[in-house]
Point group: C2
Chain length 206, copies 2
């Protein structure tokens, strides 16, 4: 198909598509003349993935370039979950204060205690440490007992997500893993907020 059809079918303007090609997110089409290139279904699929990561994950172009490079480099589902998570951040340097360092050690101890296999430098560890620091400053306890409902909810959902990844179809599997990481995270966040509102309404405004 020509770029105009790719634009119609992806819902992205021709300028945006050309921008993605220049940025290395999308392979160029095959040139059929000096002024015309031909695009295939893989281009459309790639554009849908980029759009989802941009819109839902709110990921910058540089982060998407990393993810796309991992996909093109033949990374399996496992590596891709890691790549997507690094792209999701946080990517700021960890603060140097002692409260934060103590919280980060507690996170590592928690992950060990749960027996979870997660990279030692997974950004999610920093994210959790930052939440621990805030909870402690506000006087909330941070113990495994207190966190148990979150651990259980997270583990149940993750188990379901990874179980349904089709390991026999490598290309599909990688995309499924990415989507689970980015888009379903938003599903969980949105449902969590709605459920909180419902629980608060039932308890405080019966």
């Amino acid at each position: 198909m020509q770029i105009s059809e790719l634009s119609d079918r992806s819902g992205l303007t021709v300028q945006t598509i050309k921008f993605y090609i220049r940025q290395g997110l999308l392979p160029a089409g095959s040139a059929v003349s000096a002024t015309r290139s031909e695009y295939g279904p893989a281009h459309l699929e790639r554009l849908r993935l980029i759009s989802a990561l941009r819109e839902v994950g709110d990921l910058p172009v540089a982060a998407i370039r990393e993810i796309v490079a991992a996909v093109d480099g033949g990374s399996g589902p496992h590596d891709l979950v890691g790549a997507a998570q690094r792209a999701l951040g946080p990517d700021a340097a960890a603060p140097a204060d002692p409260d934060w360092r103590a919280a980060r050690r507690d996170v590592d101890a928690l992950v060990r205690e749960l027996g979870w296999r997660a990279a030692a430098d997974a950004p999610a560890r920093d994210l959790l440490a930052a939440a621990f620091v805030s909870l402690r400053r506000l006087g909330f306890p941070v113990t495994l007992a207190e966190l148990r409902p979150y651990v259980r909810a997270a583990a149940d959902v993750a188990e379901h997500e990874i179980a349904r990844v089709d390991g026999a179809a490598p290309r599909t599997a990688t995309v499924q893993s990415l989507v689970a990481t980015v888009v379903y995270e938003q599903v969980l966040t949105a449902l969590h907020r709605l459920a909180q509102e419902d629980a608060a309404a039932r308890r405080f405004a019966p």
Copy 2:
């Protein structure tokens, strides 16, 4: 205490504290002379809450001003959950395209089917609709059966959060509700990512 002690105990610079006072996030101290004001424990508590919302929720000053106004206006836990959620966004206008409108209707139908009491204009509905649009574009089904694990995880966690809010201590209860909404959302997100990495490692890199 003087502002220098408030600075030491909150870990915020004097400039930041003065900025929060100017922005209406923190009440001014009581003037004890032309150049000195006195601050109390309520100031320290408020600064800790502001810091948590800023650091963890990544909320802009305007959003925190709204939340703080709701706290000071005597809003109960139920209203505060709503106020915090509106502050968390999304606050962008909903896109006008038909896919999005269809997804938004599906979200409303889902919330009705679950029997959840959530405001008709809750931003979390828009957040969920955006995720639905992405999932559909990527060829993922969006059905109640498919979403069930997320619904269950969200409901379990929210139930736990609201159950532990101390309804007998109004001030504490409001802060607890806010923290549950903002900080524990980050706890859930971080644990979800770590659990995904673990599940992917067990399945694809045993």
